[in-house]
């Protein structure tokens, strides 16, 4: 059983849920390991949603500080640490949208992006993460464009179905129907790859 005083190498051997037990007790080094493990995917989600590196950094920092301060709220029965983190980042990004009067494009890339891409994968977990990401991206890309579009606008854009209906000049029922069909197809693709329950 881990006790304070173990070094960072020991911490890196711990599962996320065990690290969160330490975070709950105020262990900053454990939190650092959690960030190192999930900061990349958190930043990637924020960057995808915000379209700006600076804004994504603000969202991720805000989210992780919030997680640090509320670590006692993590309940492993409700899902993985990663899901908990990504949910918080997603929420914070949407909150950020609401504070801003204008939204950025959803596929914006800036010149700083190249600096952010890791030079090489270094761990088995990172390799697995990249494989999973590739499979999810592929599954999403294989959706009919009209279904993919409404899902992306809702999830990454933070738009409601009403806003999407107005944007795309479609009946609300059509938008909801495309969301439903698209998610059902995605589930089929991801289940085949073992990525969803």
């Amino acid at each position: 059983m881990f006790r304070p005083g173990h070094n960072r190498h020991d911490l890196r051997e711990l599962a996320d849920e065990d690290l969160m037990e330490l975070v709950r007790e105020g262990d900053a080094r454990a939190f650092e390991v959690v960030f190192d493990r999930h900061g990349g995917v958190a930043f990637s989600l924020a960057y995808r949603m915000c379209g700006s590196s600076a804004r994504a950094e603000d969202v991720v920092q805000d989210a992780f500080v919030s997680l640090w301060r509320s670590g006692a709220r993590y309940d492993r029965a409700r899902g993985s640490v990663r899901s908990w983190i990504l949910s918080t980042v997603h929420n914070r990004a949407i909150d950020s949208f609401r504070r801003e009067s204008a939204r950025h494009g959803q596929d914006v890339h800036d010149e700083r992006l190249a600096e952010l891409v890791p030079a090489a994968t270094t761990t088995e977990a990172e390799v697995q993460q990249r494989d999973d990401a590739h499979r999810v991206r592929t599954a999403l890309a294989q959706l009919p464009p009209d279904q993919r579009r409404v899902i992306e606008l809702a999830y990454f854009g933070g738009f409601t179905h009403t806003q999407i209906s107005e944007m795309l000049e479609l009946p609300a029922g059509t938008v909801k129907g495309r969301m439903r069909l698209g998610l059902a197809k995605l589930r089929g693709s991801l289940s085949a790859g073992g990525l969803t329950p």
Partner: protein, 232 residues
């Protein structure tokens, strides 16, 4: 099979928009109410929520910038974690957020009157840090009372929401007299989660009670406790 009552709902029609967080706030609130009654929609939400949880992986993956890491670690070292969090937010304040959907569906089985009675040892023992687990009957969920120094924090998981138009109210019961208001009202979030700090000292208190009361609270408990937890 669906067990619906109230306005007819297009079962399944809103589940995808719900898990994507794309319903309007009022629609999401109505759908959450519908989920309490409809096993078809609960199943669909549970199924689709797993898909939505995978969506972040579809974003091109980047490393977190080093400056972000430095900034974050500096920030957390300046801010100790807080365990005295406020109560679970009312669901209507925010749009539906995907990661909480499974919990919302699982925790939506019943909405019943609830009360928690947690007996506390008086005297010097009340100043020790400890966690008291409440045994809950007649209401779904679990509740812990965490005591640090003389102050308490109620942590509820998967607790049924109070009945419509009601909130939970916390009461402190001193030895030999009736309960008095703790000036704490709360509800649970979509997962049935709440983390409630009790600002008053627990010294001399023999029980902490939580009862469902009309919105705004009551001067005296209007419901008998239906859940009781005693100190072992």
């Amino acid at each position: 099979m669906s067990e619906r009552h109230g306005p007819v709902h297009d079962c399944g029609g809103d589940a995808a928009a719900y898990v994507l967080g794309a319903l309007e706030p009022a629609e999401a609130e109505a759908f959450r109410g519908h989920l309490l009654e409809c096993v078809v929609c609960r199943d669909e939400v549970e199924t689709l929520a797993g898909v939505v949880q995978a969506l972040p992986m579809s974003a091109p993956q980047h490393a977190a910038p080093r400056r972000l890491r430095r900034r974050l670690l500096r920030a957390i070292r300046e801010q100790p974690p807080s365990r005295a969090a406020t109560a679970g937010r009312p669901a209507s304040r925010r749009r539906l957020r995907p990661a909480t959907l499974l919990g919302a569906a699982a925790g939506a089985a019943a909405a019943v009157a609830a009360a928690v009675l947690i007996a506390l040892g008086g005297g010097p023992g009340a100043t020790l840090s400890r966690v008291i687990r409440a045994s809950v009957s007649g209401v779904s969920g679990s509740v812990q009372l965490r005591i640090s120094a003389e102050h308490g924090e109620l942590v509820a998981r998967h607790l049924s929401a109070p009945p419509p138009g009601h909130v939970y109210e916390v009461w402190l019961k001193p030895a030999g007299s009736g309960p008095r208001p703790a000036s704490v009202l709360f509800t649970v979030n979509r997962d049935g989660f709440a983390d409630v700090s009790i600002p008053a000292s627990l010294r001399g208190i023999t029980a902490v009670m939580v009862t469902p009361e009309p919105a705004g609270g009551s001067p005296v408990p209007t419901h008998a406790p239906v859940i009781v937890a005693s100190v072992a």
